[in-house]
């Protein structure tokens, strides 16, 4: 099923998935660097298709619309300040929240939408993890770049924030492993942006990490790490 999911980006971008597949894919793609890049590309392509169908609407539509937006409240923007405030408030109880506040500010400043209707949701989701009461943050060590993982058992999710990662190579991707008593669990496959940064969120699926690690793997993913551990952090 997971393998199938990676092949749904094109049909998804054309709104050609039925309800259940759409939901499944929407749960998957924001945390899959490959699928989210594909969705964004295919949506740009679909927009060009839409341009071949342009038709001017009736003239009175604009008047009715402008009247309606005059009385329609806009949603709040994602404000870095607001998130820092929340994190600062928690800092009183836990010193490690200071790191989290910085991480939250850095992430939220660049959190955007993953295309269309994901806008608010992906932003809110990241906020939720970063400011969760039980959020923990752990820097990963190694020479491949800078990375930290913030995770929240109550949200059952993690956010990986990384910078200065090199291109993993053609047909290759990085994989984040949650290491628990049972060994390494693959939690997410990703590729850094052109500027070497990564911001993705992942599901914990109820697992409690003892360590987090990153390896370089084939972009189809691996069940167990096959490459050397490039970055690792152990929970003290």
């Amino acid at each position: 099923m997971t393998n199938d999911l990676h092949h749904l980006a094109a049909a998804y971008a054309l709104d050609a998935l039925d309800e259940s597949e759409r939901r499944e894919f929407e749960a998957h793609y924001p945390s899959c660097a490959i699928c989210s890049a594909e969705v964004s590309d295919y949506r740009e392509t679909a927009a060009l298709l839409a341009e071949s169908a342009t038709t001017s609407p009736p003239a009175d539509l604009k008047d009715r619309l402008m009247a309606e937006i005059g009385s329609t409240r806009q949603i709040a923007p994602i404000l870095p300040d607001r998130v820092v405030d929340l994190a600062e408030r928690k800092r009183r109880n836990a010193p490690r929240q200071r790191v989290l506040a910085l991480a939250a500010a850095a992430v939220v400043a660049v959190v955007g939408f993953l295309g269309g209707l994901q806008v608010a949701r992906s932003g809110d989701d990241l906020d939720d993890v970063l400011v969760a009461v039980d959020a923990e943050t752990l820097p990963l060590e190694g020479t491949a770049g800078n990375a930290r993982v913030v995770w929240s058992p109550s949200e059952d999710r993690a956010v990986l924030i990384a910078s200065d990662l090199s291109d993993p190579g053609t047909g290759r991707a990085y994989e984040l492993w949650l290491i628990d008593a049972g060994g390494p669990n693959a939690t997410g496959l990703f590729r850094p942006d052109a500027d070497g940064t990564v911001r993705i969120q992942l599901d914990l699926d109820g697992r409690s990490p003892a360590a987090w690690g990153i390896t370089n793997e084939p972009d189809t993913g691996s069940d167990q790490p096959t490459g050397e551990i490039l970055l690792i952090g152990e929970i003290a």
């Binding site: 050609a16 927009a47 169908a53």
Partner: protein
């Protein structure tokens, strides 16, 4: 590193008195609309209303319904404008996504009210029309239509029935009497070809 802040690009463009690209102008308007600027939103509407109404009409067919949905789409865009982030995709891509999704959801909600057995028959009728319509479409509107020519007939039929017809790939498979996996593959191959041909790239 490769990432350009669209705002700074707009400013730089202004300083050098070069014409700003359409995409930059739309991004600037949406950004202003996100701060509650209704005049900017009105200008944005002028820039993309034919795109929104056109794709909605293509999917739902009925002009008065298309108008109603187009209005809903623009209200949604107004509401969500404060969260728009230019780093994640173009304004047109975002707006076309919202419009297409809403049109498709409407068509499917109505379909689910109908008798299931009836649906397939009606769809078949409807889509025979739609296919011939598409074939008869004048191919001179944009480079996109030319680009569609690079697709195989099978790929083109799958992409157009899905996107313009508003069908799921499973429905497209039923309409074309082809295996679902095959149709899924044609949609994917077709979009990849179009993407590469049209120079869409992250």
């Amino acid at each position: 590193m490769d990432r350009v802040n669209p705002l700074s690009r707009l400013k730089a463009v202004g300083a050098r008195a070069e014409p700003a690209s359409e995409a930059d102008v739309l991004a600037g308007l949406l950004q202003r609309a996100g701060r509650g600027d209704q005049a900017a939103f009105g200008e944005l509407y002028d820039g993309v209303s034919a795109l929104v109404y056109g794709i909605v009409l293509k999917v739902v067919r009925d002009p008065s319904q298309a108008e109603e949905i187009a209005q809903e789409v623009f209200v949604e865009i107004w509401r969500l404008a404060p969260r728009y982030d230019a780093n994640r995709g173009s304004v047109k891509s975002w707006i076309a996504t919202v419009a297409h999704r809403r049109a498709v959801d409407r068509v499917r909600a109505e379909q689910s009210h109908r008798d299931r057995n009836d649906v397939v028959g009606r769809q078949l009728e409807r889509d025979h029309d739609s296919v011939s319509e598409l074939v008869l479409d004048r191919l001179d509107r944009t480079r996109v239509l030319n680009a569609l020519d690079i697709l195989t007939q099978d790929q083109r039929a799958a992409v157009e029935l899905a996107y313009f017809g508003g069908h799921t790939y499973r429905e497209v498979a039923a309409l074309l009497d082809t295996a679902e996996g095959t149709v899924k593959g044609r949609i994917r191959d077709g979009l990849i070809k179009l993407r590469d041909h049209l120079g869409v790239n992250q």
